[in-house]
Symmetry: T
Subunit: 69 residues, 12 copies
């Protein structure tokens, strides 16, 4: 974490393919509006089921980014 001040935000992403894909989606979406993303931590792996099959893989994450001076 070195010499910077970080801000940590909480996101939840989803995917119809996998939890790994849901993580990618959420990071990609966050990167569109927030510069200087540095790390993430997964806090929850969930999903929605319909007719006995997983329809959406869902993931909650904390994401840290450096604040510019």
């Amino acid at each position: 974490m070195a010499d910077h001040i970080y801000r940590v935000i909480e996101l939840a992403g989803s995917s119809q393919i996998s939890h790994a894909d849901a993580i990618e989606n959420a990071i990609a979406r966050a990167a569109k509006t927030t510069r200087n993303l540095r790390w993430f931590e997964v806090t929850q792996l969930r999903g929605e089921i319909e007719n006995g099959e997983i329809q959406h893989y869902q993931v909650a994450m904390k994401v840290g980014f450096t604040l510019e001076d």
Copy 2:
């Protein structure tokens, strides 16, 4: 949580009436500046006491809203 990306924020609200009212107040306040609120989760129920009586009911919450593309 379907196909959207969610952002989760943390709020604390209060009321002189009840915890239920404190929840309503915090959601109403958040809705004034944040669109697309979808869910909340209560993380703490507290309160302040004066002269042996509860003066303020306080509640901490996580609130999720969808990010628009």
Copy 3:
């Protein structure tokens, strides 16, 4: 917490001197862009080590501020 609605954000700060200094740095940085800071809570004390010595003291915190009407 009285009659206000609070928003809680999560920050991580660092210092080459001490954890106490890292706390000061993070609050000072947050105060530059956020008015009405009211309280903080330390959630993690960490650090980076190089050649057997602590190089950076790091601290994660939740910080609450009142939302103006």
Copy 4:
């Protein structure tokens, strides 16, 4: 808990009125199919929001009942 063996199940109930009502609903529903309910413990208070207003109050609970010999 005296001399009995308890089984503990986990339920989630909801209400359009309040969390207190969601608790009542879930206990009432459980009582229809499970005899000898003895106690409950609330593990989560949540809700769904639409157009800035709470649409459903949701509550997760553990519920204990005695097993008959």
Copy 5:
């Protein structure tokens, strides 16, 4: 929490009406023997069930009070 030293005690109260009422009862009882109560935090919401209906609403709380010099 300003300049005082606080002592924190743990209480459990009950009510035949509601959890909100159980909180009031426990604070009122604590105020009879302890001066300078300042805040409380709910740590558990429970209840007892008989014949499929809630008989007692129970609440566990931490309560803080200032120590006089």
Copy 6:
């Protein structure tokens, strides 16, 4: 846990003798109605006191059993 699918249930047992005995009792009772019990994990050790002496030793447990195909 090998190649099987497990179901995990939560039980609470009691004994007038000891916590160790309460564990035995709960497993024995569960085995009467559930086949293929495989493991347990103690989640809580409690007890009831009367006239300054422990009357019941109580234990909460998770118990896992394999689902047959």
Copy 7:
């Protein structure tokens, strides 16, 4: 979670391929005997090792389903 009452059960599944596959297996197995599965939450990712290689990927989950009236 809308207007339904949910029951939450705890499962553990395994796979020789991956944690993702272990999740699929457990949901598929649960769907054979339980209708109206709605969501799951992963609570533990584990595995067994033999001769320095992972033999079984194991996953513990909570799974919620709606109770029919």
Copy 8:
């Protein structure tokens, strides 16, 4: 927990024989100065080792007692 208000205190007891004995000791000691003890919950099992053998079994507990009107 019925209709009473409970106070919960935290104790730590020890024994040179066993954890079970340490629990008995702590309850017996508490009963000497506190009337109306009702329940206890074990929160920690520890011990001290000397020369490779356990010298003291230690246990931390919460103990609840009813407040008289």
Copy 9:
């Protein structure tokens, strides 16, 4: 913890200087009315902010003391 029975209480102290000073203050205050203090454990580091600067450093602690026979 050897052969004694301990009682554990929870305190919160504050200081305008530092968290370290808040710890000292709380122990000193507890020692005025409670004999035989033996250990403490910090459970929370907090603070109050005014005009962008920390006004009070606050600390919550558990403190153990031996009960005399």
Copy 10:
């Protein structure tokens, strides 16, 4: 914990007799290869079941020992 530096390791022991015996076994085994064991803390009580009876009592522990200068 006085003036020493401690190292903490995590062990899991088992016994066909009891959890108490599993604790003894693990400490005895650790003492064979590690000098200066000082304390332990139990972090999990588990067991394996076969044909409806407990076959192995298992216990996970943290064990601390002083590092010599």
Copy 11:
């Protein structure tokens, strides 16, 4: 866990490909210096981000191995 004494160690591994790959890497590395690895449990899923893309997938794990007599 049967009749053996286990030692549990904590590892963190990484991969440029996926969390699943980071798990494999850490187990493979541990197997080079530690015999008799038996199980692992994932305790954290993290990652590092650069230029809006995940650069390293990181995983923290507990790994258990049997101690030989």
Copy 12:
């Protein structure tokens, strides 16, 4: 955490001066026997009290170091 495999160990250090000093002592001691220390995380702040004054400041930490290939 980049491309390395980390091993995480748990230490407890002490000081007669301060918690900050106890952290320094534990890192310095670990560096004498373990190369490539990279980070630490404080998991507990404790202390021992005699005659109403703090005699030893104690700190528990996790410390990570890279494994060399």
